[in-house]
Symmetry: C2
Subunit: 456 residues, 2 copies
């Protein structure tokens, strides 16, 4: 093929907000776009906690990327795990089971996002998984609903209490939203469904190392959020650090140095993120360094120092202290696409990325949210209405909007949850989490509708 | 506790149609009901193939059993795998991870259903799984959609063809419905989403050992179904036996003894069922035997010979050649409940179970089904409309009806599929299925939107 004839090749790594908005930004450009992602879906991350807590189906928040992009004829989608970016060769290597693919590029947009960070305690991951992927969310769904199944057949009150205690680590928006939903699950959805246990007596404990939850929202909203969380049944433990996580609980240290233990079978980690390891790989090749969260310091136009043809966007990018939120990813992805377009048109000037803060919000419970938009600070029902509208607008696809709206009507209206199916493998997976019982410990389950523990 | 005071204890094993209708049949009875099931959901089995092929979410066809039964105060639900039924002790033993539970009964209804049968070739299971549980359906969803992801990154045409060939084994309703939906997926949903492969050129091959598909529907409907299947792109191979299943394909023998091989990475088994092994356990204890499909020959009132207090219903029961269909399970479950009620009222006469055949139906493709209801034989659109109505009526819960209707509108209207999210573990799971490639076999993926295989 002749070099003069072929179109400018753009490779985009990642199918999250950054990657998707980059590809879409190139839809009218005379380029060949290849998006490479290890997931075959575009994840609407801000609603993932609702998949985990049984409100939404995975299809509603994770449409197939190639379906989303099917009409963009200059783009193609490859599923694969990127193992190597070669800046000298301008090639991205990715693998699928049994297959290695090398994609050459003229321009590259790296939007591989971030995963959970355990701040050096990677051994916590086994017992306190994060919620970053669909796999995570479905596994957590199995753990949450499965915990009550285990508690219902249990007879030892100590073990029952352990199954009915839920620990969420991290008081940012994700941690607050998960804790709030687990509390509503135990208080509004599950009561009435069990005969031996009372789901409403479950404990949901939210740990935060700093002095406040939702610290980024400012003092007043942070306090309102804390109040709402307590109202729905979440115990808040601020100024508390997690120093140990094991099968049956967590070890914590309070600000005054007091160490204590909380027995809990279900733990969720929402305390921090680390950029994709592709960041460190890139940094190594261009003689720069990554920050404490694994992010690369980029030029004002989001390009890699010394490599104007490579853009790093979204959660992987370190630029002017911008936060790792969806809006930054969307806007920086779109900016990279626009930069490529401008250069192809022969405009040499490199424009700096300007972030337009559209605000942030977090739902605490049904009908209750906090939002800060520009100078505006909202809490309670008005903030929740805004949350509803914004999330409906950004969800990809009419069907997903309609379905989510219906599922929300069910969840917020009746308290029921429509997507709580627990697979058998999830139930079996609880085994590793279950403390060993002697084989002779036959409990007795007399059919008794009155809630008394039965005797044979 | 005093024997005089306590209510009559009924244990129901299984949360399928048989078990659920048995429990519901006892809702006004002065009894304590315990339902024990290894799944925490009630599965609407007739629509499971739609979960596998990306049309419906698992929540739509598998609501939590305890949610369905939450208002029935005399019933409780235990999740657990029944390991032993002791007819002498009148006790059912079940296990959950780390916990063994023993439930005593006065009356027992066994409705544990059936699983896939490989007719002595259990080694086929690894490569040609069945579709009987939510786990199965989600795994198959991953295999189907994942196969196209693998094909898209592949460069070897032989390997691509292998990923694009789908084999369905068994020409009964399940096999026909799965094959029809896979064909529609390849012809209506996926075209336009890929750049290297053409999904419409996929092969979907339905194997049937006998001379006809849907033999139970009679000659004319069977022929109409075969015609419709061919019209949507399914290759029919009747009078053909599967003699080998391995990682990359199947070995078949035609009626004239010709042996041949079909290369296909994705295989689905829908050829036969075997009743739960609890059947053989029961038979061993009461001196009777199970038939070739593992079912127990029961008395005319569905009770176990010599044990009038034990009922065996649904797919586990062998009675007057009744088929293993949802209606038999529902009606026999309800009959067992009615029998228990009658005896508690002091009516000693044991009434024989009378099956009211409400007919059977199978969807072949969108707007196309076959149905035989009493003397009535319907095919095409009228049968499909009837299929739609009947399935809406029997789906549990208003939300699930509305959601399914919307998902069907999407699937049958636009051809899109709303629930096709493939987990990363499913993609990784394809690895075992992938033939080894030498590490040096780097394919080249030039970003080319024209569908040409790229070159570097």
């Amino acid at each position: 093929m002749n070099d003069e004839q072929r179109a400018h090749r753009v490779v985009v790594i990642g199918s999250g907000f950054g990657g998707l908005f980059a590809v879409r930004g190139l839809r009218r450009a005379p380029v060949d776009v290849t998006m490479i992602s290890r997931t075959a879906y575009h994840l609407f991350q801000p609603l993932l906690y609702q998949v985990a807590t049984g409100i939404l189906s995975e299809g509603s928040v994770a449409p197939a990327t190639r379906e989303v992009l099917r009409r963009q004829r200059n783009a193609r989608v490859l599923t694969g795990e990127v193992t190597r970016i070669d800046l000298a060769d301008r090639t991205v290597t990715s693998t699928m089971p049994g297959k290695v693919t090398a994609a050459p590029y003229d321009s590259l947009i790296v939007a591989a996002g971030a995963s959970q960070s355990y701040f050096g305690h990677d051994d916590f991951a086994e017992h306190a998984p994060g919620v970053k992927t669909i796999d995570d969310a479905l596994a957590l769904r199995g753990r949450l609903f499965g915990a009550f199944e285990l508690a219902e057949v249990e007879t030892d009150p100590v073990v029952i209490a352990r199954w009915q205690t839920f620990v969420v680590i991290g008081g940012g928006p994700t941690g607050v939203e998960i804790a709030g939903q687990i509390a509503e699950l135990t208080r509004r959805t599950l009561p009435g469904e069990f005969r031996n246990i009372d789901p409403a007596r479950s404990r949901v404990i939210l740990f935060e190392a700093g002095p406040k939850v939702l610290a980024g929202f400012g003092g007043r909203l942070s306090e309102k959020a804390a109040r709402e969380l307590r109202r729905v049944g979440v115990e808040l433990r601020v100024n508390t650090k997690i120093v140990g996580v094991d099968e049956t609980g967590v070890d914590v240290v309070a600000a005054d140095g007091t160490r204590s233990r909380v027995e809990a079978m279900s733990k969720v980690w929402a305390a921090g993120v680390a950029a994709s390891p592709l960041g460190a790989q890139l940094a190594g090749q261009c003689g720069t360094q990554v920050d404490h969260a694994g992010r690369i310091k980029v030029e004002p136009d989001c390009s890699l120092p010394g490599h104007p043809e490579v853009f790093v966007v979204g959660d992987m990018m370190s630029l002017k202290n911008l936060p790792g939120v969806a809006q930054v990813a969307m806007q920086s992805g779109r900016h990279a696409a626009a930069e490529i377009l401008r250069r192809l048109k022969g405009e040499p000037s490199r424009r700096p990325f300007r972030y337009r803060d559209k605000g942030s919000m977090a739902t605490v419970a049904r009908f209750r949210a906090v939002a800060c938009i520009g100078g505006l600070r909202l809490a309670g029902f008005p903030a929740w209405l805004m949350w509803l509208l914004v999330h409906l607008v950004y969800l990809v696809g009419f069907r997903n909007r309609l379905m989510s709206l219906l599922d929300w009507a069910v969840a917020f209206g009746s308290g029921r949850r429509s997507e709580r199916t627990v697979t058998r493998s999830a139930i079996r997976g609880l085994q590793a989490e279950s403390p060993p019982h002697p084989a002779s410990d036959h409990g007795s389950a007399q059919p008794s509708a009155s809630g008394r523990p039965g005797t044979v």
